[in-house]
Amino acid sequence: MAENRADSMVEGENPTSEGDAAADIPVPESGADETTPEGIGAPASTENASKTAEPLPIDDELDDDEELGTSLAETIIKSMPSEPVVVKKRYRVMPGNPLAELDSPTAKAFEAEDQDDPRHSIFALVCIPNMPVRMTEIHKIVGKKIPANLRLIDFGSIQWPGLERVTIVLIYERPRGGTVADVIASDIPETKKLQAISLTTEAGIVGLRELDTRGIMHGAVRPNNIYFLDEECTQVVLGEFVSAPPGCGQPVAVETIERGMAMESGRGVGSALDDLYSFGATLAVITQKVNPVEGKPWKRILLSKCLQGSFLTLVGRTLISTSIYEMLRGLLNDDPALRWDFDQIETWITNRRIPPVQSRPIVKAQRALKFGGIDHFLPRTLAFVMHLYPEEALKLIHAGHIEQWLSRSLENNDTANAVAAAVAIAEGQAGSKFAEDILLTRVLTILDPDGPMRYRGLAIMPAAFGSALAINQIRGGQVSPYAEIVTNAVPSVWFEGNESLKTLKFQTENQFARLKTYLTKTGIGFGMERCLYETNPNLACQSPLLTHAYVTTVKRLLPALNIAAKTGGTEGEPIDRHIAAFIGARFDRKMDTYLDELASADEAIKAMGLLHLLAHIQSEAGPDQLMELTAWVGNLMSPATLNFRSRTTRRQMEKDIPRLVQEGSLTQLLDLLDNLDSRSKDDAGYYSAIQKFRAAEVEIAKIEKATAPRSSISEKKSKQIAAATGVTIMALALILLLVT
């Protein structure tokens, strides 16, 4: 995990004992094993709490998100081409000149040159392919000069040689003064350091406020992402934040407790208060001579924050400037309602004082509950560790230890009753194979309602489901827990503990109800791929057919497919599961009908579904001519002629298709194959043919009956003729006799 990995300013290999607030967390007695009955739920007294920083069992637990940034972003370095890569025919990116100091957790920095203005100092950030970059924010800030923010000059997509597909490159103004953290940590005079701290404080607040007025959360404020723009170190800017979802790659130390407990891919968009917390934490880390959390495992940092509060965890006794002490206390308040906002900070900057606010004391249990080798005094830490050991956690729940602990040690009968009710619900669903997983989610939400939605090893804020799913897709992780979150409506379980978030509840539950319908359909255009694009509105289409293009809108899809047809050959079909899901998510709901056709086992219906989809997009989004794609689709349209019954019409259509293909119009092709008049004529012709066939059948039956041996009709007729012959002969003979 990137936050685990963290930058050296936040976590290092050699934690110091001085100011080591994180070491104050209770740790298990030596040799305690969290998997033994003694280690689980056994009551422990506060006297057992040790002050030494012995390794905790949880320190050995690996995290799913570990090394997300490094492992994926390193592929960009490994695949470095030697020749410069040109972006938008203007910016030359030098793969041979990486700028490690400007790297982001999920993007690699390289020297770049503006060919139109070589004096323009820029650098390029090459993002991880398929990463859900913050495209909405990119469009809001590109080309604009936002005070105290690194300027995003331009962006584009490139085929980075060696990478499997096109990715996004961000062209940024290049900061020349290095990171503020490095400058302060360097051997410069104290006055310069104080000046740097002052500039950083001012710039951070201005920069975040500017973003907040534009409705943007930074989500990437950390020590190595605040720079001096100039070599003279007079101008401070906040670094880039659009190369990954908010909070992705952020060290746990600079994230709020709630966001820190979520997987880095599952933190989602927070508020300005979350940014202010990150800024406060960053400021705390870079303005201390000794970093109190350096080298600490991220889980210990979180536990320490829960027990002692973020301020005591992050701020030791070695602040370079005590002038920001009050501000840090305000920014690092773990209660969002009491955390300083922009107005309070400005008031403090102006008057150097702020009305005192009474913090709410943390209610701790009288007796600890031992779990995972740790003595828990807070439900929140218990929930955090229980999530790491699901099997043992369920044993603890079923044994009733949690209810006991809540009612006796915490004297919180409401929460104890809620846990009892959750167990009762699970017992009622005993037949369901997900009952235990949902029970754990429900209990963890009861214990820590502000924490992330925790389900089968995932810890995601409900609004961040999309980004977590997208990043899981990049990592090739298991999809089943995500699918189960949707099918089991896990967010609803989370909202049971967060009833106050009515608007978010309504929106999220609606969204997940829709996702569930997509997931229940397994055909092309639905399933998990559809959920991926529905929950990531700016995610580029990840189809293997579109490795050469960065397709984020339906308008770009057909030209990209046309190029695919031109360069990649036309074997197979132009729509795969990703493209179908992408169309379904980005276009109107009418497309679902065509997607259903596309999933049909009937080849004719399937072919028409393909044509309907593509022609509909062409008519709505253009372009008018798609020669290669139309030819590709045209080659697949033979089954579509089977919708007509007349063989003559079919043959005529097969002759007409190549002619229309040359015009490059899918809509004309559709008009030929799905023409209402032609269909009506065909139906009428078929009906008429049936009438004729039926009439012939009846006549044949009649003839066969009439001409059958010993047929009464035949016999009767022949006798009639014999009688008539006799009468005729008589008449002729009488006439002859009379005349003669």
Binding site: R645, T648, R694, T707, S714, K716, K717, K719, Q720, I721
Partner: protein, 163 residues
């Protein structure tokens, strides 16, 4: 309420009525034109036999035989009706040539009645086969144009337009 007579009873009633009518007419004719009526009854005896012996309701055999039989009877009738020179009924009746002509004509009628139907059946059978072949050929052409499902839908009494 009286029970309505069955169809067979009605047909039998009609047949009896017809016979009664013929008998009355014959009696009237015997009284009015005794010689002519006797001669006709005698000459047309094979026809009368054919009429009663024929198995078809319509009496096609009687019509066929009777027509030719009457041609044979007619010269005798003409002789009977021939002015002053007319021969006696007895002369005519006992004239072997006259009797031979009348009954030979009836024989020819029989021959005609027996030989025409097989010929006619052969001809109509041949024509019917030709027509069937033509219709089947049309059906094949329809199937070639509209597919095998036409054969199924074409014999499906439930098939409706728009299916």
């Amino acid at each position: 309420m009286a029970k309505r007579p069955s169809k067979k009873q009605q047909q039998d009633g009609r047949k009896t009525f017809r016979l009664m009518t013929w008998a009355v007419m014959t009696l009237v004719c015997l009284v009015t034109f005794p010689s002519t009526t006797f001669l006709v009854l005698l000459g047309m005896l094979p026809t009368i036999v054919a009429f009663f012996a024929g198995r078809d309701d319509r009496g096609y055999a009687a019509v066929c035989i009777g027509s030719i039989n009457f041609v044979g009877v007619y010269p005798a009738l003409e002789a009977l009706w021939a002015g002053d020179r007319k021969p006696d009924l007895v002369d005519i009746v006992f004239d072997p040539l006259t009797l031979t002509i009348m009954y030979a004509a009836a024989g020819l009628g029989w021959l005609l009645y027996l030989s025409v139907p097989p010929v006619i059946q052969t001809i109509t059978g041949f024509m019917g086969q030709r027509r069937i072949e033509s219709l089947k050929s049309d059906q094949k052409a329809l199937i070639a144009e509209w597919g095998d499902e036409l054969a199924e839908d074409g014999v499906d009494p439930d098939f409706e337009y728009g299916d």
